[in-house]
């Protein structure tokens, strides 16, 4: 399904609400009006009947009534829809005013002493199918003669009136609705203008001007949060871009060293004939430089691959203590050369990618070995923390200044660039550690006291995501 624009959607909602309320109000108004009219007519009818009955009571006998029938008829004159008939007790018509020839045969006759009320009105249908309301009420002359007074009113004109009224109302309601919708649309458009402005601003941003920020100065407060969020995103993107850029520059830079060495040593070797021993030494050194480049490529590729969502971990359960022992073993020779002790402690079971685990701990340990002074010890231990297995690698030494701590894990970041020992491609080791922990849903942290202990901590969550 195609999604509607916000303007269209809001207009639609607005239309729906307007139409419904207009229609509801229209229906209610119409009902109230027709009710009022009918009630009014019925009251008039009842009042006429009462009046006629009272008048009749003033006549002495039938001849009087017939002689003064104009006084009776006058009470219903003035409205062509009205009818009046007075019949005697034997059924003969005494007075008859019925210009529309309404049917007047109401079945019940109300007793002369009964008070007339609107609920006594009865309905008949005329030849056109229109309703006729009316009543037959008995009256008594002074001599006691009983007569029947029939009053009636055709509702045809009222129904016509209501139909006209209805039609007018529908027309006006429709016009009102149309105006409301148009107005609503225009107002909504106007109200959403800041959004379009924002979109316009965002559209101009590309990789070349990531420094641009969206402005929400004239926008309603609801958009301020959105703008702030988008600007935060831009900041992160900008930072990411500049990191990639720096990474590319650093990588190119680091590749220069081995390439330069290769070229230089080979050129120098070719300037004059050499002994075969010298050539052998040169070739050996060439291979070492190649290894250095290969290792860098491998590390960079690993980092790139670790960021791909397709990267598959080969998880298995193992004892962390045994693994740490094994890794400690691996560095045993170097540690002995450096006269540094590696102390391993603790046991815990962990579900993780074992090769990557070794690589992460190995990188931390080789890093620690580089900075631990002679006759000191590196502590490697595993601890269970709530929801995580913690592996701590601690070494004494000069410590790392606080401003470097959180950047340690950035690619090619070196605390001392001049000392940047790219033969060890140390600039990537710690970022690989971070990548490995990211892959496991964990994290790595570094703490350091000036001229004291430096501690790296690997947090492996025990419930993998």
């Amino acid at each position: 399904m195609r999604t509607l624009s916000l303007t269209a959607r809001l207009t639609l909602i607005f239309t729906l609400v307007t139409t419904t309320s207009f229609a509801l109000v229209g229906v209610l108004l119409f009902k109230a009006a027709s009710q009022r009219i009918i009630e009014q007519d019925e009251t008039n009818l009842v009042l006429s009947a009462r009046h006629l009955r009272r008048l009749a009571g003033e006549f002495a006998a039938l001849p009087d009534l017939v002689a003064h029938q104009d006084r009776l008829v006058i009470s219903v004159l003035g409205d062509a829809s009205n009818a009046l008939r007075i019949t005697g007790s034997d059924g003969q018509t005494l007075v008859d005013h019925n210009p529309l020839h309404l049917p007047l045969a109401f079945p019940d006759t109300i007793a002369p002493d009964q008070r007339l009320v609107p609920t006594m009105l009865e309905s008949l249908r005329d030849t056109h199918g229109d309703t006729v309301r009316g009543m037959a009420a008995a009256g008594k002359l002074q001599d006691g003669t009983l007569i029947t007074i029939i009053v009636a009113r055709s509702l045809a004109d009222r129904q016509l009136l209501l139909r006209h009224y209805q039609r007018d109302m529908v027309r006006r309601l429709l016009a009102g609705m149309a105006a409301a919708i148009l107005l609503g649309y225009l107002l909504i458009r106007q109200a959403l203008r800041p959004l379009r402005t924002l979109a316009g601003q965002a559209a101009t941003i590309s990789a070349h001007n990531l420094g641009t920020r969206l402005s929400a100065s004239n926008a309603p407060p609801e958009l301020h949060a959105l703008t702030a969020t988008l600007n935060d995103m831009l900041s992160r993107l900008e930072e990411g871009f500049s990191r990639v850029w720096r990474f590319t520059v650093d990588l190119a830079h680091d590749l220069r060293t081995p390439i330069g060495n290769l070229r230089g040593t080979n050129e120098v070797a070719l300037t004059r004939p050499r002994t075969s021993e010298e050539y052998q030494a040169l070739l050996g050194s060439n291979i070492e430089e190649c290894d250095r480049v290969s290792r860098m490529i491998e590390n960079v590729l690993f980092l790139a691959r670790a960021e791909s969502p397709q990267f598959a971990l080969q998880r298995s359960v193992f004892d962390v203590g045994d693994e740490l022992q094994l890794i400690g073993d691996y560095f045993e020779g170097i540690a002995a050369d450096a006269e540094v002790d590696i102390r391993v402690a603790g046991h815990a079971r962990l579900l993780a990618d074992r090769d990557l685990f070794r690589r992460a701990v190995g990188n931390l340990l080789s890093n620690a070995l580089r900075y631990t002074p002679r006759h000191h010890a590196i502590d490697v231990r595993v601890e269970e923390a709530p929801g995580a297995i913690r592996i701590l690698v601690e070494n004494p030494g000069d410590g790392i200044a606080p401003e470097h701590l959180d950047k340690l894990f950035d690619r090619f970041y070196r605390v001392d660039r001049a000392r940047g020992d790219s033969a060890h491609s140390a600039g990537l080791g710690l970022s690989i550690v971070r990548s490995i922990l990211d892959l496991h849903g964990g994290r790595v942290t570094a703490e350091s006291e000036p001229s004291g202990t430096t501690r790296f901590t690997l947090w492996f969550p025990t419930a993998p995501p």
Binding site: L283, G284, I287, L301, L326, I327, G333, A336, D355
Partner: protein
């Protein structure tokens, strides 16, 4: 032993031929997939070294068609180190898989492993010159004198002895001895070799453990150090 190398990169083809011939193999090099497949089907080779990225017909296709008719061992070379690629290579009937750039000694070792037929040499008891290795009791003697080694040193010596005459790269050694399958920046292997050498070779006229600069280490009693 006859090998067929199917590799389109001229320099790579040349050094593979030279290196493998000097290691005692007879080597033919073909520079594209179609000719390579034809030659592999027509002639008898003990092993194929097959580059995956080839003009004309790529290595996967060569392997697939070859496997319809022949069962010769195939070692795949590729520049792409992705898990899916490895899986694909092995599913199509490749016997081993090596990612470029690789160490030549590593290639040599893989080829030898693939060609090694029947059970491995008796390794319970090895004797190289005056060096004796007892794998069962994990004891080492040289010239009748007992040498004390740490367990890792013993594994390292055992590996070198088992593959005597064969140059082993640092990565191979790290993988076999410590089961560390990543290329570490550290000189762990160099240090371990130096310490082993101090125990095994120091004070003896004939040196057994040799460094092949840039390539790795070899145990050999008939080799002169460069």
């Amino acid at each position: 032993m006859r090998l067929l190398v199917i590799e389109d990169e001229k320099k790579a083809g040349e050094y593979l031929k030279k290196g493998l011939e000097e290691s005692g193999f007879t080597v033919d090099v073909v520079a594209n997939g179609i000719d390579g497949l034809h030659q592999a089907l027509e002639e008898d080779y003990d092993l194929l070294v097959l580059d995956v990225m080839l003009p004309g017909m790529d290595g996967w296709e060569v392997l697939r068609r070859l496997r319809e008719k022949k069962d010769v061992p195939v070692l795949l070379l590729t520049a792409v180190d992705e898990l899916e690629e490895r899986v694909r290579g092995l599913e199509l009937g490749g016997d081993d898989y090596l990612v470029k750039p690789f160490a030549f000694v590593e290639l040599l070792a893989r080829i030898r492993t693939l060609l090694r037929r029947g059970p491995p040499r008796d390794i319970e008891h090895m004797r190289i010159g005056d060096l004796e290795i007892d794998a069962v009791r994990r004891r080492v003697r040289r010239n009748g004198q007992r040498i004390d080694l740490t367990p890792r040193e013993f594994s390292l010596l055992q590996l070198l002895a088992r593959r005597r005459g064969e140059v082993l790269s640092r990565a191979q050694i790290a993988s076999y001895v410590w089961d560390m399958n990543f290329d570490s920046d550290t000189n762990v292997v160099e240090v371990a070799i130096r310490r082993l050498r101090a125990k095994v070779d120091e004070g003896y006229g004939v040196k057994l453990i040799h460094t092949v600069r840039g390539m790795g280490y070899v145990l050999d009693d008939e080799r002169e150090d460069a």
